[in-house]
Protein backbone atom coordinates (compact mmCIF):
# COMPACT_ATOMS: atom_id res chain seq x y z
CA UNK A 1 0.00 0.00 0.00
CA UNK A 2 1.26 3.38 -0.84
CA UNK A 3 2.12 5.56 2.06
CA UNK A 4 0.01 8.36 0.64
CA UNK A 5 -3.10 6.23 1.16
CA UNK A 6 -2.22 5.74 4.81
CA UNK A 7 -1.02 9.21 5.45
CA UNK A 8 -4.18 10.94 6.68
CA UNK A 9 -4.83 8.18 9.17
CA UNK A 10 -1.31 8.11 10.41
CA UNK A 11 -1.31 11.82 10.73
CA UNK A 12 -4.53 11.93 12.76
CA UNK A 13 -3.29 9.30 15.15
CA UNK A 14 -0.18 11.26 15.83
CA UNK A 15 -2.16 14.39 16.44
CA UNK A 16 -4.33 12.57 18.92
CA UNK A 17 -1.27 11.40 20.74
CA UNK A 18 0.22 14.83 20.78
CA UNK A 19 -2.97 16.52 21.91
CA UNK A 20 -3.48 14.00 24.70
CA UNK A 21 0.10 14.38 25.80
CA UNK A 22 -0.30 18.11 26.07
CA UNK A 23 -3.69 17.98 27.69
CA UNK A 24 -2.80 15.47 30.33
CA UNK A 25 0.07 17.54 31.61
CA UNK A 26 -1.97 20.66 32.05
CA UNK A 27 -5.18 19.64 33.72
CA UNK A 28 -6.86 22.64 35.27
CA UNK A 29 -9.07 21.50 38.11
CA UNK A 30 -12.37 23.05 38.99
CA UNK A 31 -12.55 22.62 42.79
CA UNK A 32 -16.17 21.81 43.46
CA UNK A 33 -15.51 21.44 47.16
CA UNK A 34 -18.69 21.21 49.16
CA UNK A 35 -17.53 19.66 52.42
CA UNK A 36 -14.63 18.31 54.44
CA UNK A 37 -12.98 16.61 51.45
CA UNK A 38 -12.38 20.10 50.14
CA UNK A 39 -9.87 20.67 52.91
CA UNK A 40 -7.91 17.69 51.73
CA UNK A 41 -8.12 19.03 48.21
CA UNK A 42 -6.57 22.27 49.42
CA UNK A 43 -3.88 20.32 51.23
CA UNK A 44 -3.10 18.52 47.99
CA UNK A 45 -2.64 21.82 46.24
CA UNK A 46 -0.41 23.22 48.95
CA UNK A 47 3.32 22.92 49.06
CA UNK A 48 3.60 19.69 51.02
CA UNK A 49 1.85 17.51 48.45
CA UNK A 50 1.94 19.92 45.55
CA UNK A 51 -0.05 18.74 42.58
CA UNK A 52 1.81 21.36 40.59
CA UNK A 53 4.34 18.56 40.09
CA UNK A 54 1.75 16.94 37.84
CA UNK A 55 0.64 20.04 36.04
CA UNK A 56 -2.66 20.35 37.88
CA UNK A 57 -2.06 23.25 40.16
CA UNK A 58 -4.03 25.91 38.33
CA UNK A 59 -7.30 25.72 40.24
CA UNK A 60 -9.76 28.02 38.62
CA UNK A 61 -13.03 29.09 40.13
CA UNK A 62 -14.47 29.83 36.77
CA UNK A 63 -15.68 26.62 35.14
CA UNK A 64 -14.99 28.09 31.72
CA UNK A 65 -11.26 27.80 32.31
CA UNK A 66 -11.20 24.24 33.63
CA UNK A 67 -10.78 20.74 32.29
CA UNK A 68 -11.37 18.54 35.29
CA UNK A 69 -14.04 18.95 37.88
CA UNK A 70 -13.08 17.57 41.28
CA UNK A 71 -16.27 17.02 43.26
CA UNK A 72 -14.98 16.91 46.80
CA UNK A 73 -17.61 16.36 49.43
CA UNK A 74 -21.24 15.54 49.81
CA UNK A 75 -23.68 17.04 47.40
CA UNK A 76 -27.18 17.81 48.52
CA UNK A 77 -30.16 17.41 46.28
CA UNK A 78 -30.64 21.12 45.95
CA UNK A 79 -27.07 21.48 44.74
CA UNK A 80 -27.43 19.08 41.82
CA UNK A 81 -28.70 21.63 39.28
CA UNK A 82 -25.83 23.92 40.23
CA UNK A 83 -23.31 21.13 39.83
CA UNK A 84 -24.74 20.15 36.47
CA UNK A 85 -24.70 23.72 35.32
CA UNK A 86 -21.07 24.13 36.28
CA UNK A 87 -20.26 20.92 34.47
CA UNK A 88 -22.02 22.10 31.35
CA UNK A 89 -20.17 25.38 31.43
CA UNK A 90 -16.81 23.66 31.30
CA UNK A 91 -15.37 23.47 27.80
CA UNK A 92 -14.65 20.15 26.15
CA UNK A 93 -12.70 18.03 26.62
CA UNK A 94 -13.42 17.67 30.31
CA UNK A 95 -13.25 15.02 32.98
CA UNK A 96 -14.71 14.50 36.37
CA UNK A 97 -13.12 13.14 39.54
CA UNK A 98 -15.45 12.06 42.31
CA UNK A 99 -13.49 12.50 45.51
CA UNK A 100 -14.41 10.81 48.76
CA UNK A 101 -17.01 8.37 49.96
CA UNK A 102 -19.72 11.00 49.93
CA UNK A 103 -19.34 12.09 46.36
CA UNK A 104 -18.99 8.49 45.19
CA UNK A 105 -21.85 6.93 47.10
CA UNK A 106 -23.37 9.31 49.63
CA UNK A 107 -21.13 7.93 52.34
CA UNK A 108 -22.69 7.77 55.74
CA UNK A 109 -25.22 10.41 54.78
CA UNK A 110 -27.99 8.12 53.68
CA UNK A 111 -30.60 10.78 54.29
CA UNK A 112 -33.42 12.52 52.54
CA UNK A 113 -31.22 15.36 51.38
CA UNK A 114 -27.99 13.82 50.14
CA UNK A 115 -27.32 12.61 46.64
CA UNK A 116 -26.28 8.98 46.78
CA UNK A 117 -23.37 9.30 44.41
CA UNK A 118 -22.89 12.08 41.91
CA UNK A 119 -22.57 9.53 39.13
CA UNK A 120 -26.33 9.41 39.14
CA UNK A 121 -26.30 12.83 37.60
CA UNK A 122 -22.89 13.30 36.01
CA UNK A 123 -20.48 11.15 34.06
CA UNK A 124 -17.56 10.38 36.37
CA UNK A 125 -14.12 9.28 35.19
CA UNK A 126 -12.21 8.52 38.37
CA UNK A 127 -13.56 7.61 41.79
CA UNK A 128 -11.47 8.11 44.91
CA UNK A 129 -12.51 6.14 47.98
CA UNK A 130 -11.77 7.27 51.50
CA UNK A 131 -13.19 9.59 54.08
CA UNK A 132 -11.42 11.82 53.37
CA UNK A 133 -8.97 10.42 50.81
CA UNK A 134 -5.37 11.17 51.50
CA UNK A 135 -3.70 13.69 49.24
CA UNK A 136 -1.66 10.85 47.82
CA UNK A 137 -4.86 9.24 46.66
CA UNK A 138 -5.93 12.37 44.88
CA UNK A 139 -2.53 12.54 43.22
CA UNK A 140 -2.94 8.92 42.22
CA UNK A 141 -6.31 9.76 40.73
CA UNK A 142 -4.78 12.53 38.69
CA UNK A 143 -2.11 10.16 37.46
CA UNK A 144 -4.78 7.66 36.54
CA UNK A 145 -6.71 10.33 34.76
CA UNK A 146 -3.59 11.31 32.86
CA UNK A 147 -3.17 7.72 31.81
CA UNK A 148 -6.77 7.56 30.72
CA UNK A 149 -6.43 10.74 28.72
CA UNK A 150 -3.29 9.47 27.06
CA UNK A 151 -4.87 6.18 26.17
CA UNK A 152 -8.32 7.27 25.06
CA UNK A 153 -7.98 10.93 24.21
CA UNK A 154 -8.51 12.25 20.72
CA UNK A 155 -7.91 15.70 19.41
CA UNK A 156 -11.55 16.35 18.58
CA UNK A 157 -13.12 14.52 21.51
CA UNK A 158 -14.41 11.60 19.45
CA UNK A 159 -14.21 9.33 22.46
CA UNK A 160 -17.16 11.10 24.05
CA UNK A 161 -19.52 10.97 21.10
CA UNK A 162 -20.64 7.40 21.57
CA UNK A 163 -21.32 7.74 25.24
CA UNK A 164 -24.90 8.77 24.84
CA UNK A 165 -26.42 6.79 27.67
CA UNK A 166 -26.63 7.08 31.39
CA UNK A 167 -23.46 5.67 32.91
CA UNK A 168 -24.30 5.66 36.59
CA UNK A 169 -25.37 2.81 38.81
CA UNK A 170 -28.77 1.23 38.77
CA UNK A 171 -31.29 2.05 41.45
CA UNK A 172 -30.30 0.86 44.91
CA UNK A 173 -33.57 -0.40 46.25
CA UNK A 174 -36.50 -2.43 45.08
CA UNK A 175 -38.50 -0.31 42.73
CA UNK A 176 -42.14 0.41 43.31
CA UNK A 177 -44.82 -0.04 40.72
CA UNK A 178 -46.28 3.24 39.50
CA UNK A 179 -49.55 2.82 41.37
CA UNK A 180 -47.67 2.57 44.66
CA UNK A 181 -45.76 5.75 44.16
CA UNK A 182 -46.95 8.35 46.62
CA UNK A 183 -45.07 11.45 45.73
CA UNK A 184 -43.37 11.67 42.40
CA UNK A 185 -42.06 14.98 41.22
CA UNK A 186 -39.71 14.74 38.30
CA UNK A 187 -38.59 11.89 36.17
CA UNK A 188 -37.77 8.62 37.87
CA UNK A 189 -36.22 6.90 34.91
CA UNK A 190 -32.67 6.98 36.07
CA UNK A 191 -32.20 8.39 39.51
CA UNK A 192 -32.85 6.83 42.85
CA UNK A 193 -36.30 5.40 42.82
CA UNK A 194 -38.77 5.85 45.54
CA UNK A 195 -38.28 3.10 48.00
CA UNK A 196 -40.33 0.76 50.04
CA UNK A 197 -40.28 1.89 53.68
CA UNK A 198 -38.11 -0.54 55.57
CA UNK A 199 -40.33 -0.93 58.60
Amino acid sequence: MALSALLPDVLVTRLDYLASLLRKHSLWPMPFATACCGIELMATASSRYDIARFGSEAMRFSPRQCDVMIVAGRVVMKMVPVMQRIWQQMPEPKWCISMGACACSGGVFDTYATVQGIDRFLPVDVYIPGCPPRPEQLIRAILDLQEKIQKTGTIDGREFVHRQGYEGPTALARELTPDKLIVAPGDYQTATRKRVPLN
Binding site: G165, A173, Y188, L198
Partner: protein, 168 residues
Protein backbone atom coordinates in the same frame (compact mmCIF):
# COMPACT_ATOMS: atom_id res chain seq x y z
CA UNK B 1 -35.70 38.13 89.94
CA UNK B 2 -38.19 35.88 88.19
CA UNK B 3 -41.51 37.12 86.93
CA UNK B 4 -44.70 35.93 88.53
CA UNK B 5 -46.10 33.41 86.11
CA UNK B 6 -49.01 32.36 88.34
CA UNK B 7 -50.64 35.76 87.93
CA UNK B 8 -50.22 35.47 84.19
CA UNK B 9 -51.79 32.05 84.29
CA UNK B 10 -54.88 33.32 86.08
CA UNK B 11 -55.15 36.17 83.67
CA UNK B 12 -55.28 33.78 80.71
CA UNK B 13 -57.93 31.58 82.26
CA UNK B 14 -55.54 28.84 83.37
CA UNK B 15 -55.28 27.36 79.89
CA UNK B 16 -51.57 26.69 80.17
CA UNK B 17 -49.51 24.90 82.75
CA UNK B 18 -46.17 25.86 84.22
CA UNK B 19 -43.24 23.49 84.52
CA UNK B 20 -39.85 24.01 85.95
CA UNK B 21 -36.64 22.11 85.46
CA UNK B 22 -33.83 23.68 87.47
CA UNK B 23 -33.83 27.30 86.38
CA UNK B 24 -35.58 26.57 83.12
CA UNK B 25 -39.22 27.61 83.25
CA UNK B 26 -41.73 26.61 80.61
CA UNK B 27 -45.29 27.42 79.79
CA UNK B 28 -47.07 24.48 78.22
CA UNK B 29 -49.94 25.45 75.99
CA UNK B 30 -52.03 22.49 74.76
CA UNK B 31 -53.31 22.33 71.21
CA UNK B 32 -56.90 23.02 72.23
CA UNK B 33 -56.05 26.55 73.29
CA UNK B 34 -52.93 27.34 71.29
CA UNK B 35 -54.69 28.85 68.30
CA UNK B 36 -56.46 31.52 70.36
CA UNK B 37 -54.08 32.05 73.24
CA UNK B 38 -50.58 31.86 71.81
CA UNK B 39 -50.39 35.26 70.21
CA UNK B 40 -51.95 37.26 73.08
CA UNK B 41 -49.77 35.36 75.54
CA UNK B 42 -46.54 36.07 73.70
CA UNK B 43 -47.59 39.66 73.17
CA UNK B 44 -48.20 40.06 76.88
CA UNK B 45 -44.86 38.42 77.70
CA UNK B 46 -43.08 40.72 75.30
CA UNK B 47 -44.76 43.98 76.19
CA UNK B 48 -45.50 43.63 79.90
CA UNK B 49 -42.96 41.13 81.15
CA UNK B 50 -40.00 42.36 79.14
CA UNK B 51 -39.25 39.19 77.17
CA UNK B 52 -38.27 41.25 74.19
CA UNK B 53 -36.06 38.83 72.34
CA UNK B 54 -37.09 35.66 70.55
CA UNK B 55 -33.90 33.70 70.93
CA UNK B 56 -35.07 30.53 69.28
CA UNK B 57 -38.01 28.88 67.68
CA UNK B 58 -38.03 25.19 66.93
CA UNK B 59 -40.31 22.26 66.30
CA UNK B 60 -40.74 18.85 67.90
CA UNK B 61 -42.72 15.85 66.75
CA UNK B 62 -44.06 13.84 69.69
CA UNK B 63 -45.37 10.93 67.66
CA UNK B 64 -45.05 7.78 69.75
CA UNK B 65 -43.70 9.67 72.75
CA UNK B 66 -44.83 8.24 76.11
CA UNK B 67 -47.80 10.13 77.59
CA UNK B 68 -47.88 12.65 74.78
CA UNK B 69 -51.34 14.01 74.07
CA UNK B 70 -50.66 16.36 71.19
CA UNK B 71 -48.41 15.64 68.31
CA UNK B 72 -46.42 18.69 67.26
CA UNK B 73 -44.89 21.25 69.52
CA UNK B 74 -43.34 24.56 68.61
CA UNK B 75 -40.99 25.93 71.22
CA UNK B 76 -40.46 29.64 71.63
CA UNK B 77 -37.35 30.53 73.59
CA UNK B 78 -37.73 34.01 75.00
CA UNK B 79 -35.09 36.16 76.63
CA UNK B 80 -35.45 39.28 78.68
CA UNK B 81 -32.54 41.38 77.56
CA UNK B 82 -32.74 43.60 80.65
CA UNK B 83 -32.50 40.88 83.28
CA UNK B 84 -31.15 37.98 81.24
CA UNK B 85 -34.08 35.85 82.32
CA UNK B 86 -35.23 33.10 80.02
CA UNK B 87 -38.60 31.53 79.46
CA UNK B 88 -39.76 28.80 77.13
CA UNK B 89 -43.26 28.64 75.72
CA UNK B 90 -44.25 25.36 74.20
CA UNK B 91 -47.38 25.41 72.03
CA UNK B 92 -48.86 22.26 70.59
CA UNK B 93 -50.66 21.54 67.35
CA UNK B 94 -52.27 18.45 65.94
CA UNK B 95 -52.93 16.61 62.71
CA UNK B 96 -54.44 16.76 60.17
CA UNK B 97 -53.76 20.47 59.72
CA UNK B 98 -51.22 21.52 62.32
CA UNK B 99 -51.44 25.26 62.50
CA UNK B 100 -50.35 28.00 64.89
CA UNK B 101 -50.47 31.76 64.69
CA UNK B 102 -47.34 33.34 63.33
CA UNK B 103 -45.34 35.54 65.68
CA UNK B 104 -43.72 37.54 62.90
CA UNK B 105 -45.89 40.48 63.95
CA UNK B 106 -44.07 40.50 67.30
CA UNK B 107 -40.57 39.51 66.23
CA UNK B 108 -39.65 39.89 62.60
CA UNK B 109 -36.79 37.48 63.14
CA UNK B 110 -39.32 34.69 63.49
CA UNK B 111 -39.81 34.73 59.74
CA UNK B 112 -37.12 32.27 58.70
CA UNK B 113 -37.40 30.17 61.85
CA UNK B 114 -41.06 29.58 61.19
CA UNK B 115 -40.30 28.76 57.61
CA UNK B 116 -37.84 26.15 58.78
CA UNK B 117 -40.35 24.60 61.15
CA UNK B 118 -42.85 24.53 58.32
CA UNK B 119 -40.29 22.97 56.02
CA UNK B 120 -39.30 20.21 58.41
CA UNK B 121 -42.56 19.48 60.25
CA UNK B 122 -45.33 20.90 58.12
CA UNK B 123 -46.72 23.10 60.87
CA UNK B 124 -48.34 26.04 59.13
CA UNK B 125 -48.15 29.51 60.62
CA UNK B 126 -51.24 31.59 60.11
CA UNK B 127 -50.44 35.17 59.20
CA UNK B 128 -46.88 34.44 58.10
CA UNK B 129 -45.95 36.83 55.29
CA UNK B 130 -44.07 34.33 53.15
CA UNK B 131 -44.53 30.73 54.21
CA UNK B 132 -42.38 28.82 51.75
CA UNK B 133 -39.86 26.04 52.17
CA UNK B 134 -36.51 27.36 53.20
CA UNK B 135 -34.10 24.42 53.12
CA UNK B 136 -35.64 21.76 50.94
CA UNK B 137 -36.25 22.37 47.23
CA UNK B 138 -39.57 24.00 46.48
CA UNK B 139 -41.01 20.93 44.81
CA UNK B 140 -40.18 18.58 47.67
CA UNK B 141 -43.45 17.25 48.95
CA UNK B 142 -42.97 15.83 52.40
CA UNK B 143 -41.76 16.96 55.78
CA UNK B 144 -38.56 15.10 56.53
CA UNK B 145 -38.24 15.58 60.29
CA UNK B 146 -41.61 14.08 61.07
CA UNK B 147 -41.22 10.86 62.99
CA UNK B 148 -43.24 8.88 60.47
CA UNK B 149 -41.05 9.96 57.60
CA UNK B 150 -39.28 6.74 56.61
CA UNK B 151 -35.52 6.51 56.61
CA UNK B 152 -35.83 5.98 52.92
CA UNK B 153 -38.77 7.02 50.91
CA UNK B 154 -41.25 9.64 49.87
CA UNK B 155 -39.51 11.06 46.88
CA UNK B 156 -36.28 12.24 48.33
CA UNK B 157 -33.12 12.60 46.26
CA UNK B 158 -35.33 12.99 43.34
CA UNK B 159 -34.66 13.79 40.29
CA UNK B 160 -32.76 15.86 37.98
CA UNK B 161 -31.89 14.72 34.52
CA UNK B 162 -28.58 12.90 34.46
CA UNK B 163 -26.10 14.35 32.03
CA UNK B 164 -24.40 12.02 29.62
CA UNK B 165 -20.99 12.41 28.12
CA UNK B 166 -22.15 13.12 24.64
CA UNK B 167 -24.56 15.92 25.44
CA UNK B 168 -22.57 17.79 28.00
Amino acid sequence: MAVDLEALRHRFGEVFTIEQFRDNRRLILPAAHAAQTLLPLLQCLKQEYGFDMLAELGGIDYLGYPNATDRYAVVYGLTNTQTGERLFVKAYANDPQPELPSVTSLWRGANWMEREVYDMYGVRFRGHPDLRRILMPADFQDFPLRKDYPLRGYGERHNFLPLTRAES
